[in-house]
């Protein structure tokens, strides 16, 4: 669909009832970039300089305070601001939206590739051609790049609005569509010239940025239209009409022809012949045979699917034009400009090369006019390329445009050039995704892009560009989660880089940490996941969040670190696990759970708590049953190898009451012997230089030994 981009700049000049060019209601104001530097005022200095590309580097400096009162406050900050030049350029947020949206189509295509590869040995009757999958993918991606046909049409159609209101198209979309036409859409190969006509209709406006185009001509004329009294006296009117005709904007041409003064009711009487000629041309134009399956509504021409039918219609149509050309009515047409203008149009339709050259502004427009009026059957890249070269000579471009390089690369069948142009003009996103179209294009391109190369470290061009794109994604905190999709599609180095990417993510925030672990789970990277949990565990531990630290180390099953931190934890336990602060420890002990394997050396804490609890009950109530329970806890603690040696004496000292229980001895002979052995071991250990003495009265050990000895005697008597 041909359209004029909404142009807010000219709103004031053509306002009111005569508005011909649709425009956006609000004028484009100055662009404001809010910066969040997060520094406390006062800011002493701001420096601005250029950074890479169209980015500004803004540096904020705080005034250095002499007294050092604000301690850890940073002295300044440097921010990069990316400037968008407003028109045509795509904002970061939009680019991210495209990046998000392209993940699913890409992933679907990769999984289809895998299933096709596994099925290729079995010949299936329901075989779907690969390009059909690529076409689905291409359509999904294309829809992300904006839909220029989405603006609602006004309720009352302006009869003088020649062009329809559309959203500004982007070069990215134009490039994608071009590649789709040439590489993915095998159905359209038969009517490729008409696809190119449509493409130029949609995107000629983009070329206006660097040179004169027919689109620009039409837009300019539309602005003048309101001031013209007798439209057919204006040379520009005929110029614009023939230009629009040359590139096949038939609906625009017919609409403009019907603005001709001879249609006015007060003039139709004395300009009957003239009006007849204008209408005859308009009818001929709207009946133009087109070699294509269908046309959009509102577009003119008659469609033919089969070549013989088309040739027949084409010959008939040309015969009608020739007949009109040699008609006697021209003599009776008094209006000179009309006569000349219409005859020039007939020449264009008959494919007069001089008329076409005059009517078009640059070689692509001339090229398109060739397809329409001279060589509608051009097939094969080779003949298309030689025709393009001829047009370039006839109508060279004044300056280069990003899209033109791509067009030449595609027509020249040069995959490397196409890839280079995509990379240069549209960046890593385009290359990574367009590769799917290129490999679908031809077997040669597929081999070229997928063969492993020694100079790339054994990877293919395809993999290289996916890795580059994944790298770009992983640099942004908002998009790094997309990178795994692309990395896992890389056979050689993808998984290695994915492991690095995941290992390098910050683990401070639990939510992000969990997102990383989830990605590890999806790709079955258990060792990475457990490493990350270890890092998180140590991080939380070091920042005083002991519970979280223990949890993550438990999840990672890191017994070594759990045992090590257990020793540190016991230091604070010795002092603080009094009856009052039990509540604080309760939660941590609950967290440790009953599974001794995941608790490591910390299992001691749980047993110690149980022992302390029953000891407290003994002190409160003094029933023998409770005391017996406390003794069981004590024995299990002393038996357990994870009980640190330095706790032995305090434990025994705390249980003196149990050891010398009045009613009956609570420990049997073997239990007492066990404890006595521990006391002996302890006495030996005290001689070692690294022994840590418990904070107990000096006679504690003696007291315990005496109590044990007494108990042993009583127990022996009891058992007899």
């Amino acid at each position: 669909m041909l359209g004029v981009a909404s142009d807010p700049g000219d709103g004031a000049s053509v306002s009111g009832a005569g508005a011909l060019v649709p425009f956006l209601p609000e004028a484009r104001g100055p662009v404001v970039y809010p910066l969040h530097h997060g520094l406390k005022p006062p800011i002493a200095r701001v420096a601005i300089s250029w950074a890479r590309g169209n980015s500004l580097r803004v540096s904020f400096f705080r005034r250095a305070s002499g007294d050092g009162s604000d301690g850890d406050e940073v002295g300044g900050k440097v921010l990069e601001v990316r400037l968008n030049n407003g028109d045509g350029d795509i904002s970061d947020a939009q680019l991210r939206r495209v990046a998000y949206g392209s993940v699913s189509p890409f992933a679907v295509l990769q999984s289809r590739r895998n299933s096709v590869a596994s099925l290729s040995k079995i010949s299936s009757p329901y075989h779907v051609e690969w390009w059909e999958y690529v076409m689905d993918y291409s359509k999904d991606i294309n829809s992300l790049l904006g839909n220029p046909k989405s603006l609602p049409s006004p309720a009352i159609e302006d009869p003088q609005a020649v062009l329809q209101k559309v959203e500004e198209p982007t070069c990215l979309k134009a490039a994608w569509e071009l590649m789709e036409v040439f590489y993915a859409d095998k159905l359209s190969q038969a009517w490729l010239p008409e696809r190119l006509v449509d493409w130029l209709t949609d995107y000629d406006s983009l070329l206006s940025s660097t040179q004169a185009t027919i689109h620009l001509k039409v837009v300019d004329f539309q602005k003048e239209l309101v001031t013209l009294q007798v439209i057919e006296d204006n040379t520009k009117y005929w110029e614009v009409i023939s230009s629009a005709l040359a590139v096949g904007w038939l609906d625009v041409v017919v609409k403009m022809l019907r603005l001709h003064g001879s249609y006015l009711l007060d003039q139709i009487g004395n300009r009957e012949t003239e009006n007849g000629l204008v209408e005859a041309v308009a009818v001929l134009i709207s009946k133009m045979p087109r070699m294509r399956p269908a046309l959009e509504s509102g577009k003119l021409g008659e469609c033919y699917k089969a070549k013989p039918d088309f040739i027949k219609a084409w010959e008939k149509w040309r015969a009608q034009i020739t007949k009109l050309e040699s008609s006697a009515f021209w003599v009776h047409c008094d209006h000179h400009r009309t006569r000349e203008g219409l005859r020039n149009m007939l020449q264009i339709m008959l494919g007069n090369i001089n008329s076409l050259c005059t009517a078009t502004c640059h070689w692509i427009e001339l090229y398109i006019s060739h397809f329409l009026y001279i060589r509608p059957f051009t097939v094969g890249l080779e003949s298309m390329y030689s025709l393009a070269k001829k047009c370039m000579q006839l109508k060279p471009m004044t300056s280069s445009h990003t899209l033109i390089g791509l067009v030449i690369g595609i027509l020249g069948d040069n995959t490397e050039v196409v890839l280079a142009e995509c990379s240069r003009s549209f960046g890593p996103w385009m290359v990574a995704h367009a590769l799917e179209l290129l490999t679908a294009g031809s077997d040669e391109a597929e081999t070229l892009l997928q063969e492993e190369r020694y100079n790339l470290g054994g990877i293919s061009i395809e993999e290289l560009h996916r890795l580059v794109y994944a790298q770009v994604l992983s640099l942004d905190a908002l998009t790094w989660q997309l990178a795994p999709i692309y990395l896992t599609s890389c056979m050689k180095q993808g998984m290695g880089l994915l492991e690095i990417l995941l290992s390098k993510q910050p683990v401070q925030h639990t939510q992000i940490l969990l997102k990383i672990i989830e990605i590890c789970r999806i790709y079955e990277l258990d060792s990475i996941s457990s490493n990350i949990m270890k890092i998180a565990g140590v991080y939380h531990w070091k920042h005083g969040r002991k519970g979280s630290g223990v949890f993550w180390l438990q999840q990672a099953r890191d017994e070594v670190r759990l045992n090590r931190i257990a020793l540190q934890l016991f230091d604070s336990v010795g002092q603080s696990i009094s009856d009052e602060s039990f509540k604080q420890w309760e939660g941590l002990i609950e967290l440790l759970g009953s599974d001794s394997k995941t608790a490591g050396g910390l299992e001691f804490l749980r047993k110690y708590r149980d022992f302390k609890k029953s000891l407290k009950q003994v002190n409160d109530g003094k029933t023998t049953d409770v005391a017996q329970q406390a003794v069981e806890s004590l024995i299990s603690l002393m038996k357990n190898p994870s009980t640190p040696q330095r706790f032995w004496l305090p434990l025994l000292y705390d249980s003196l009451k149990l050891l010398s229980w009045q009613e009956r001895p609570l420990l049997n002979v073997s239990q007492t012997n066990l404890l006595l052995n521990k006391v002996q071991e302890l006495s030996m250990a005290r001689l070692r230089p690294d022994f840590i003495e418990a904070e107990l009265p000096p006679q504690a050990l003696g007291g315990v030994r005496l109590a044990l000895a007494t108990n042993l005697g009583r127990a022996i008597l009891e058992e007899k």
Partner: protein, 351 residues
């Protein structure tokens, strides 16, 4: 796997609203009138963090008013005061807490009270919850502190209920009654607190199905006003369970892998859980009090679903990216707003 739309003959209407910002949290603002609808979005990078009030009446979210917190918002709640003024409570990653009062007519933000960082938590605020009809908040953090913050005049009064000094970290909180609240944390642990019995949690629950590495973290808690004894929690590994304090250590599992649940709505982190007050046929009064009411969950693997005890989950939304938070409109429970990882908001209107 979840069946799609089993109980709803008509699919909900889904409106996707891409935003140019990452959305940390999203809430409906209590409805002011029948015509105006407002939602609060806590936005973050690359823009400075802001809370926007947006009007989804036309389903084109337009900024209504904004307020810039000192750092990213880590927890967001909305409620209303006794005088029916809408109230927004936000905890930040730097540890500050902010209470914002909105205008009852046009939802513009009128006044803000805050507790500065370090006074409340060392490190981020994990969760805040506002008591219904009273401007009283409970805030918990990974630093192991449990605070009550109440509005007194034009100031915020802070009272520390408990400080585990990092031995236990709390990740979720929810009021059960004017004196009781529940917190959740690591190891699928839940703690029941009663202000009348200070000094620590009154009751503790730890998932004892958690063996080996199947343990996880509670991310969100909800308590139904008519079932104050039952606490609903959602967390890691798609786990959704209910803890009835009358049957101390016996959880009722609604969903989750590795929990022995018959159905599982999702396999990854359940970021948020809320009782789903929207149901067409069943009346809450008819459901036996031992049966858990239907609940809505959102998850890291992009699922928004309604889970019910011993029934197939009903999937409302399956996205290719995480659904980080959602909110069911209290006055009009057919409307759900949720925020996606990929910088967009989705509004669901159920038939």
């Amino acid at each position: 796997m979840a069946i799609t739309g089993g109980a709803f003959p008509e699919r909900p209407q889904i409106h996707r609203l891409p935003q140019p910002h990452y959305i940390d949290a999203v809430r409906w603002l209590p409805q002011l009138s029948a015509f105006d609808r407002f939602a609060v979005l806590a936005l973050s990078s690359p823009s400075p963090p802001q809370i926007y009030s947006l009007d989804p009446q036309t389903l084109t979210l337009a900024p209504q008013s904004s307020w810039a917190p000192p750092s990213r918002v880590s927890s967001l709640r909305t409620s209303r005061t006794q005088t029916h003024q809408p109230l927004i409570a936000a905890g930040t990653v730097s540890g500050s807490l902010h209470v914002i009062f909105a205008n009852a007519v046009d939802a513009s933000m009128e006044s803000e009270l805050s507790v500065p960082e370090k006074d409340l938590h060392a490190g981020p605020v994990s969760c805040v919850d506002v008591m219904d009809g009273a401007a009283e908040c409970v805030s918990v953090g990974e630093d192991g502190r449990v605070n009550l913050v109440s509005v007194s005049g034009s100031r915020l009064g802070v009272r520390r209920v408990f400080d585990s000094e990092g031995l236990v970290s709390y990740t979720a909180a929810k009021w059960a009654s004017p004196t009781e609240f529940v917190t959740g944390g690591y190891g699928f642990g839940l703690q029941w607190w009663d202000q009348r019995r200070p000094g620590g949690a009154v009751s503790q629950f730890k998932a004892n199905w958690a063996q080996g590495t199947t343990s996880g973290i509670v991310h969100s808690i909800d308590i139904h006003p008519s079932r104050k004894h039952t606490c609903l929690a959602g967390g890691s590994l798609g786990t959704v369970f209910a803890w009835d304090i009358r049957w101390q250590q016996q959880p009722i599992i609604l969903s989750g892998i590795g929990t022995g649940a018959t159905h599982s709505a999702c396999e990854s982190e359940v970021w948020e859980v809320q009782y789903d007050r929207y149901s067409k046929s069943t009346n809450i009064g008819n459901i036996s009090s031992s049966r858990i009411l239907p609940a809505m969950i959102c998850s890291e693997d992009g699922i928004l679903a309604v889970v019910e005890q011993d029934e197939e989950p009903i999937e409302l939304l399956a996205e290719p990216c995480a659904i980080n938070s959602f909110d069911i409109d209290r006055e009009n429970p057919s409307e759900v707003i949720c925020s996606l990882e990929w910088e967009s908001v989705v509004i669901l209107t159920r038939p």
